[in-house]
């Protein structure tokens, strides 16, 4: 499958080791502007390590990460967020002592309006984003008392408040009911329609098949297959990785 011509994210030869364990082994992939990109693979295959390297939670040992033409692999995470890379976490990480609204005000203050804070109506903007996510009635609720699906939505809302160009959703649907999965999926489609490139890590195959335009499958830190969702799922190596046959 051909790589996209106009790539927003270019990953070249990326490797990451933890002691003697190779978590990522020479991974190269491009993600196009405005693309919906799915990342799958069995547990421990390196999906979360890959996005930790992209978002800056970890530093890669070798290789390069170009975001919109700029090398970001040595930048601290907060600078990457300011460039336009936002993420949600596999296990939600709310700012538990703050209200939902305040959770969104943090990135609004530190990313969107850093430098011209006195002019900004951060509360109003945060409220707008919450409305779009269907969380407006929870604005004043303490983040630590949200339900699972509300937490997932809040994480996406907080990522959106950083005004990203690339949104990485790390298993945003894990543990949700099928109705809730469709709800979150709908939100992600809507965000993509507004021009945001999305990388989705997901174990719920129905969701990832429906959402992705292109899929990448990792196993033991290597790319085993990349292409259209149908082609990847039909690939014998992918089936072997998942089923062990």
């Amino acid at each position: 499958m051909s790589q996209p011509v106009d790539a927003l994210l270019k990953i070249d030869n990326l490797s990451k080791h933890f002691g003697g364990f190779t978590a990522l082994d020479q991974v190269s992939v491009n993600v196009g502007r405005g693309e919906r990109f799915g990342l799958i693979g069995p547990n421990g295959s390196g999906k979360t390590t890959l996005i930790n390297c992209i978002s800056g939670a970890l530093q890669n040992d070798q290789g390069s990460i170009l975001f919109d033409g700029a090398e970001v692999s040595r930048m601290p995470a907060y600078k990457r967020t300011r460039l336009g890379i936002a993420r949600s976490f596999q296990i939600p990480r709310p700012f538990g002592s703050m209200s939902v609204l305040e959770n969104l005000i943090v990135p609004l203050e530190y990313v969107a309006h850093s430098g011209s804070l006195h002019l900004a109506d951060t509360r109003g903007e945060a409220m707008e984003i919450l409305k779009g996510m269907g969380l407006a009635d929870k604005a004043e609720t303490l983040a630590s008392s949200l339900s699972q699906v509300e937490l997932r939505k809040m994480e996406l809302a907080r990522a959106m408040a950083a005004r990203p160009r690339l949104l990485i959703s790390d298993e945003a649907m894990a543990g949700l009911s099928s109705n809730e999965v469709s709800e979150v999926l709908e939100i992600l489609f809507k965000l993509n329609a507004s021009g945001i490139t999305i990388i989705m890590i997901e174990h719920i195959m129905q969701a990832v098949m429906k959402f992705s335009q292109r899929l990448l499958c990792l196993d033991a830190g290597r790319i085993i297959c990349e292409g259209s969702p149908e082609a990847v799922v039909g690939n014998p190596d992918v089936q072997r990785a998942y089923l062990g046959a």
Binding site: Y78, T81, V111
Partner: protein
């Protein structure tokens, strides 16, 4: 505006006090309570807002005190400059402690701050210029500043000003974007960084400001006692009190450490005079346990629950 007015009234009271309060002990005890307001407020900037529990208050306090003593002995530096120098030295120590947060979190950070206290105390014990282990008597300046006739009354006013500045700074940090960033760090450092918060810079700033304020509180210490020696300047009591007072008052708001320091500081003074000076350490321990068990959010939490009726579910 209300805050500014309150601050002016307080400083005005401390400046005018010698005209109508003639009891010497009032200034002696008041100085200690004010000193604890500064220490508790400073501790809370790093410990309460950002969640990094510092057990090294004694080290910052003593660095402030000994910087002032060394410069006073060397060039007879005036009190105002002694305080600035003490704050600068302790602020630098705070910056270094801030760098520790790169690798150490939670209890490991706290243990490291105890280690720093012990190392610095050993260094000072062997520094003969400032008296080493046997201490150094300090002769106060013979000329009184302004209209004051008693140096302790002057120190009382100076400590009031330091306390007002410390609380104003904590308040400024808490209500704005810096405070929100620090709270994000306390709640989840990884998520804070991914929300664009420059966590290292904020932690360094918080640790430096917290350290500088503790140093400012320590700088007049030798003038106050006319004497300085390492084991009282580095005393673990400062660390315990600076931690207990915000916890008893409430760590979420700038007023919490102030309430805790006034309550605990006053009770300690009363107990020292009426019962014994050993007893006041017990008071800290008992009150800390009672509050941690009965009111984890301190006096502020009780206020919220029973007066504002906004109970935590």
């Amino acid at each position: 505006m209300k805050f500014l007015l309150g601050a002016l009234v307080l400083v005005g009271f401390a400046a005018a006090a010698p005209l109508f309060v003639h009891l010497e002990y009032f200034y002696f005890a008041g100085f200690v309570v004010l000193q604890f307001i500064v220490l508790a407020t400073a501790w809370n900037i790093l410990g309460g807002f950002a969640g990094y529990v510092n057990f090294g208050t004694g080290a910052f306090f003593a660095v402030g005190a000994y910087s002032a003593v060394a410069l006073y002995k060397a060039v007879q530096l005036p009190l105002g400059l002694q305080i600035l120098a003490g704050a600068a030295a302790a602020g630098l120590l705070g910056f270094l402690v801030g760098l520790l947060t790169l690798r150490l979190r939670g209890i490991f950070f706290s243990i490291a701050t105890i280690a720093i206290t012990i190392i610095l105390e050993t260094v000072v014990m062997n520094w003969h210029y400032v008296g080493g282990a046997k201490g150094l008597p300090i002769l106060r300046p013979t000329e009184m500043p302004l209209y004051f006739t008693n140096y302790t009354q002057w120190l009382f006013l100076v400590m009031t000003i330091i306390a007002v500045l410390a609380v104003a700074m904590a308040r400024y940090i808490q209500v704005g974007w810096i405070g929100r960033g620090l709270r994000a760090i306390r709640d989840n450092e990884g998520a804070a960084e991914c929300s664009g918060v420059p966590t290292l810079k904020l932690k360094l700033a918080a640790a430096s400001i917290s350290g500088a304020l503790m140093g400012a509180a320590g700088a007049p210490f030798a003038q106050y006692l006319s004497f300085i020696e390492p084991s009282s300047a580095f005393s673990l009591n400062y660390a315990v009190n600076a931690l207990a007072m915000p916890i008893i008052g409430g760590t979420a708001h700038w007023i919490g450490p102030v309430l805790g320091a006034i309550l605990l500081g006053t009770v300690q003074q009363v107990v020292t005079v009426t019962i014994s000076s050993e007893m006041n350490v017990l008071v800290v321990g008992v009150m800390l346990v009672v509050f941690v068990v009965g009111a984890p959010e301190g006096i502020l939490g009780l206020w919220k629950r029973y007066v504002l009726k906004k109970g935590t579910p």
